[in-house]
Amino acid sequence: MRKSRDQARVRTVEGSPFHVGRLLRWVVVIVWLAFLIVPLYWVAVASIKPQEDLLTSPPVWWPDNPTSIHFDQALNKFNGWKGLKNSLLIAFTTTIFAVIIGTAAAYSMARFRTGGKHLSFWFLSQRILPPIAIVIPIFLLFSRYSEEWFGIRLIDTQAGLIMLYTVFALPFTVWMMYAYFRQMPVELEEAALVDGCSRIQALVKIAWPLAAPGVISAAAFAFIFAWTEFLFAVVLARTEAVTLPVALAGMVTSFQGNLYGEASALTMVSLIPSLMLGILVQRHLVRGLTLGAVRG
């Protein structure tokens, strides 16, 4: 273990750094920031530009009379509200399921060696499958067979997407929580058992609180995955269960003319949760992800 930690440490050459290198670093940072921020800025401004300012050349960098009409239109006239509500419901529910099931599975694997040594990696390997490979079978399953065989309608339902997203989010959740439980000294739970806990109490009172940073990271990932997923949503949820990305795409490809303002407004709406989540969990996120490096 000590060895791997040494290897993980970044090795540097002692001495004064190259000045060229320092300059280069600034250039890279600035270019990259521009790459990131300019489109965001454009979208943000577009969402409040009056219609006539949208496609001018040169572009209007700041509108003279900002408007909120695009937000109103996007949310009320197009599928905005519906998409927002669906996305929130689907992402939240997916997160809860993925975290509960994933944590339980990971705990069982870490503490009782359920499934042997390789199960956790097998879980992760599910992510190697390109999603597009299974879109059609899943579409058929959802649209026809689920109803014929099980009498459950899944196509264009929130439940259908929640189910699917939970399955997709699980590998990562399991893998991450597994790593988390593995590095947690088992003696802590043993001490709890001796102190008078039942197995379940040891899990709830000791293991879970200590795994909280991991749970938060895993939850953030599950949420963002479900919030941004597009491929399956667009195939499986066209009208009723339409999600935000699908609603957004609908505007961009719409025949109703230039909807860039509305699309930008909806984009801004869809950024809010990611932003909030990012701010909320960034500390935990880093800890959760770099766990392997800080053990011992």
Partner: protein
């Protein structure tokens, strides 16, 4: 309070490792029993089976009159101190200490009273609001002790509770544990691989080796009458000196001959401990003598000539009150699985040295001499062997030759 009984306890791990073989042992109510032995001998495993943290593969463990084999830890009424303390990192010291009581749904005021009392005994009052990671090693250790002591269990289990402390703190805490035990008198099983800890703390000591119990006895008994070569070598520091010898019957008694024609008389006390020794005449035996029973013969001129041996002085280490002298005696060193294991437990170089000695037919001895000794490095000195200090072991079984 209760006694703890091991009856033919076996433990086989799923990977096939036999960690404990047929351990039978009774620990009376209120006794402090120490399990000692080299690394990997199964001490922790035995302890964890009492705690209920490890499935028992065979046999029966009883606490009081109750067979606990299938009881979960919390129904066994035990408390345990872990080697790495296992303090709950997300709880304050106060919460760590009160956790076992809270689980028992004790009243708040009573919990508070007990926590304060324990904190006072262990001098942790100021640390109560702090988290474990804000504590020093010694403080953590005391919190771990406190969490075990705060309720009054039938049995305390301690797995090397002092091994993470520095030498000074360890000695201090060792004494404190001894005092606490005298005060509260709860049956305790204490695991350590440090034989000094075992000897100073244990009312009785169980010496284990490779999953097998070697001897259970009081520290004094282990020291003077070790059951076999392993116990003799393991208990005592510096370790007992061993060499190969041959028993010879002479007119008025027995002599042990070794090396280049040196002989030592077997005195009456030594013969009393091993009445059948005469029967082994002609065959080789393993002779053991502790460093503290060797002395520079120049300091005790009245030593008879047949209780002296000659050795080449190699190294003198002055320890203030005594002089530890290493010297070489021309005698075949003992190479059995036991002595090798004990040597390996000290460190690998000891083992290499042992191999080297074997090829030279010289045995390295350690003696604890008076500081006045004039024995000079590089010269041959006469060494006196105290009365009643020789022990004899059977080279084939390693058992001490008794009756």
């Amino acid at each position: 309070m209760a006694q703890v009984t091991f009856e033919k306890i076996r433990k086989v791990y799923p990977d096939g490792t036999v960690a404990v073989k047929e351990l039978s042992l009774e620990i009376p109510d209120g006794e402090l029993m120490v399990f000692v032995g080299p690394s990997g001998c199964g001490k922790t495993t035995a302890l964890r089976m009492v705690a209920g943290l490890e499935q028992i593969s065979g046999g029966e463990i009883r606490i009081g009159d109750e067979v606990v084999n299938n009881l979960p830890p919390r129904e066994r009424d035990i408390a345990m101190v872990f080697q790495n303390y296992a303090l709950y990192p997300h709880k304050s010291v106060y919460e760590n200490l009160s956790f076992p009581l809270k689980l028992r749904k004790m009243e708040k005021s009573e919990i508070d009273r007990r926590v304060q009392r324990i904190a006072q005994i262990l001098e942790l009052e100021e640390q109560l609001p702090r988290r474990p990671r804000q504590l020093s090693g010694g403080q953590r250790q005391r919190v771990a002790m406190g969490r075990a002591m705060i309720r009054e269990p039938q049995v305390y289990l301690m797995d090397e509770p002092l091994s993470n402390l520095d030498a000074k703190l360890r000695t201090q805490m060792r004494a404190e544990i001894g005092l606490l035990h005298k005060e509260i008198g709860v049956t305790t099983i204490y695991v350590t691989h440090d034989q000094v800890e075992a000897m100073t703390l244990g009312e009785r000591v169980a010496v284990m080796r490779k999953g097998e119990l070697q001897q259970v006895a009081s520290p004094q008994e282990l020291y003077t009458h070790p059951a076999n070569l392993f116990v003799a070598g393991f208990i005592g520091s510096p370790a007992m000196n061993f060499f190969e010898g041959k028993i010879e019957v002479v007119d008025d008694g027995l002599m042990v001959a070794f090396g280049d024609g040196q002989r030592l008389r077997v005195d009456d006390a030594e013969r009393d401990f091993a009445p059948v020794l005469a029967g082994t005449a002609g065959a080789s035996v393993i002779v053991g003598v502790r460093p503290e029973h060797l002395e520079d013969a120049a300091l005790i001129p009245e030593t008879p000539s047949d209780r002296r041996l000659r050795g080449l002085v190699r190294l003198r280490e002055l320890l203030g009150s005594e002089m530890v002298v290493h010297f070489e005696v021309e005698a075949a060193p003992v190479m059995t699985a036991e002595t090798r294991e004990i040597a390996a437990d000290v460190d690998a170089s000891t083992l290499t040295e042992l191999d080297h000695m074997r090829s030279n037919r010289r045995t390295s001895f350690v003696g604890r001499f008076g500081v006045a000794t004039q024995a000079v490095e590089g010269t041959v000195a006469e060494i006196a062997v105290s009365a009643g200090s020789l022990r004899f072991f059977d080279p084939s079984t390693g058992a001490r030759i008794t009756t």
